[in-house]
Symmetry: C2
Subunit: 175 residues, 2 copies
């Protein structure tokens, strides 16, 4: 086995598709992510990875909080595109969707949503181009029962693409 990284091998990893949202000083933003995993059960912690250049990343670092919306399989490409292919610096993504405010003021998207999860940031770590956040879950609610959208479904069925600012197999907001 030579020193080769075959992208087809990386593409066999499975992910969900989520909106990661945050709020800082009255400004909301959010972006599509797939790099999200639960780390621990007691207390419940998760890891999420964002590109350093993204506006959402800047707001998460400043606010120390973020929320996750788990998208359902029926979420249309057009809806995903609002959070995945536009930049929140000059466009109000939350003017394009329905949401509720969590107890700490985080915007929780309710369109095409199976669950909303609210987290406090415990740590942030640089990993080259990206920032890896570890967050502790404060609240998690099921919005409705259903099938989650997977990254495989997004690519195979919906023919979705990844924006330019994304590593292979990872979604990221275009800065």
């Amino acid at each position: 086995m030579s020193d080769v990284i075959d992208p087809r091998a990386l593409f066999t990893l499975s992910y969900g598709v989520y909106i990661l949202s945050t709020a800082h000083e009255g400004k909301f933003n959010g972006q599509i992510i797939n790099a999200l995993v639960q780390l621990t059960g007691n207390p419940v912690c998760m890891a999420a990875c964002l590109h350093k250049d993204n506006y959402t990343t800047e707001l998460v670092e400043k606010s120390g909080r973020f929320a996750v919306t788990v998208l359902e399989e029926s979420a249309p490409l057009k809806f995903i595109g609002v959070f995945g292919f536009r930049c929140g610096r000059d466009f109000d993504k939350f003017g394009e969707c329905n949401y509720e405010l969590g107890e700490d003021g985080l915007p929780l998207v309710t369109d095409y949503s199976l669950a909303n999860i609210e987290l406090d940031v415990l740590s942030a770590q640089d990993v080259f181009t990206h920032k890896l956040f570890v967050g502790q879950v404060r609240r998690a609610r099921l919005v409705k029962e259903g099938y989650p959208l997977t990254y495989a479904n997004y690519h195979r069925v919906k023919k979705g693409k990844s924006p330019a600012n994304a590593p292979s197999a990872i979604f990221n907001e275009v800065k």
Copy 2:
């Protein structure tokens, strides 16, 4: 929304099912994990989360290396059980499967495998009961084309269970 963490909300997250394997001073071990994500594209880095008490975790910390095998959908429960429900301290898991050795001596499982990925550990971080490793991918090969086993499939179709040492929705080797 009250301060409640509904486990059904956590259960909407999507994961694959992987064997994380390592080698240290001639000793091999491995365990089933689902908490694995690609973080960056250039260089290619991934994060993996293991319970602190697990033997695999100890060997990864000592060796500074680990490999990931992406399991295919047809992987039987009995095979998964070898890596998911037994402890490698007193049982040779690699006596129960077919594997090849990578260039750095890591055991790469070839049974029910779609891909093998070899990584060097860049950092390790304590997250309460678990350890979060960031690794840089050195080599990644596609073993064959196919559909990856997902955690949802494992639970819904195969009726798999999580061992006692696992947080909700996370696999972990029984120590």
